[in-house]
């Protein structure tokens, strides 16, 4: 009836860690778990209609959508209310003391902050390439671009990150 699809539990165990790493890079460690649950609930809802061929690309597509939704609702909330700090400011302030930030050096949170400033397409590509460790072809599949497009996005993203790193160095020295 559903030949080819693994039991959802098996799918979950296989993709949970990479998707968590991806979402941490996309929305920051503090909000990643909310997005993670939204991602896998959406995946479960659509699962019987999924194609067994490339479930990894499929789940990253869902995760990316959830991360973008999350950021939109965050910026909508942040502007009028003003009590929700954008990820960047929070990450840039002194080392995070909350549970999600444990084990993260100040240097790390600066990297998060710089990654968070990248445009979504570049950010997703950089995170998939370096935090999830996908090959360019798989990054492209997960983001609906060609392998070439994935390379370009990563390249542009890295260029911006290098610039931020240089600025950071100037500020601290």
């Amino acid at each position: 009836m559903h030949e080819g699809l693994p039991p959802f539990q098996v799918f979950l165990e296989e993709h949970l860690d990479p998707v968590r790493a991806f979402l941490r890079g996309m929305v920051g460690p503090n909000d990643a778990d909310d997005c993670l649950q939204e991602t896998f609930i959406a995946a479960l809802r659509a699962y019987p209609r999924a194609h067994g061929g490339n479930l990894r690309a499929w789940v990253f597509t869902i995760a990316r959508r959830k991360a973008i939704d999350h950021q939109r609702s965050r910026s909508r909330r942040a502007q009028p209310v003003g009590d929700v700090e954008p990820l960047v400011d929070r990450a840039r302030s002194s080392p995070p003391a909350d549970a999600a930030g444990v084990g993260m050096s100040p240097r790390h949170s600066e990297i998060w902050a710089a990654v968070a400033e990248l445009p979504p397409g570049q950010r997703a590509a950089v995170v998939l390439r370096f935090a999830v460790d996908l090959r360019y072809r798989d990054v492209g599949e997960a983001l609906g671009t060609s392998e070439e497009g994935a390379r370009r996005n990563v390249h542009e993203g890295l260029k911006k990150l290098r610039r931020s790193a240089a600025e950071l160095k100037e500020m601290t020295t």
Binding site: H2, E13, Q37, I41
Partner: protein
């Protein structure tokens, strides 16, 4: 697995997305896999059957929305524990029959479910009760494909003449269950 997986399964159950919940259970015969749909107990995997293959079969034949969610199996696990402890002779669990072939096979299993604790019938008797007295071989096949062993007590169906016959979990397990019930 993890706290995250537990929370996900809980929410999935609340939102009606958990088509098959499963749990594992330690028993004197080894680790059992128990699985249920919203209709009731749908599958028990005996120790010889790897978890992966039991879950894959559920994904193919019921729904791929299969998650570990022991809470839905609390009652089944409790009754099975009591059975193995010698404190229960009759299961009061709702059963989902969908994994047994409709028709003769399912009739054989439904008739087998009525054989009381501690009693035995022969394959021919099972066939007769299911409406085809001469189909004792087919009755054996039906019992061999029983998706819910122990609760649907196919171990109580034995050969005429004293040999206890085959069992999905091996003849030793069949003998163990019949001795547990003081049937031998």
């Amino acid at each position: 697995m993890s706290e995250f997986a537990d929370q996900l399964a809980t929410r999935a159950a609340e939102e009606g997305l958990l088509d098959v919940a499963y749990a594992t259970l330690d028993s004197p015969v080894g680790e059992l896999v128990v699985a249920a749909t919203d209709r009731g107990l749908v599958r028990i995997g005996l120790p010889g059957q790897p978890l992966d293959s039991v879950l894959a079969q559920l994904a193919d034949d019921v729904s791929p929305r299969v998650l570990s969610y022991p809470r839905r199996l609390d009652e089944a696990r409790r009754e099975l524990d009591q059975y193995f402890a010698g404190k229960r002779e009759h299961f009061e669990l709702a059963v989902d029959w969908r994994l047994s072939h409709p028709g003769f096979y399912r009739r054989v299993l439904r008739e087998t479910a009525k054989v009381p604790f501690g009693e035995m019938i022969t394959y021919s008797q099972a066939a007769r009760r299911a409406g085809s007295p001469r189909a004792f071989r087919a009755a054996g096949t039906a019992l061999g494909s029983n998706p819910i062993p122990i609760v649907v007590p196919c171990h109580r169906v034995v050969r005429a003449g004293g040999d206890i016959g085959n069992y999905g979990g091996g003849p030793e397990m069949k003998r163990f269950l019949l001795e547990l019930e003081d049937a031998l």
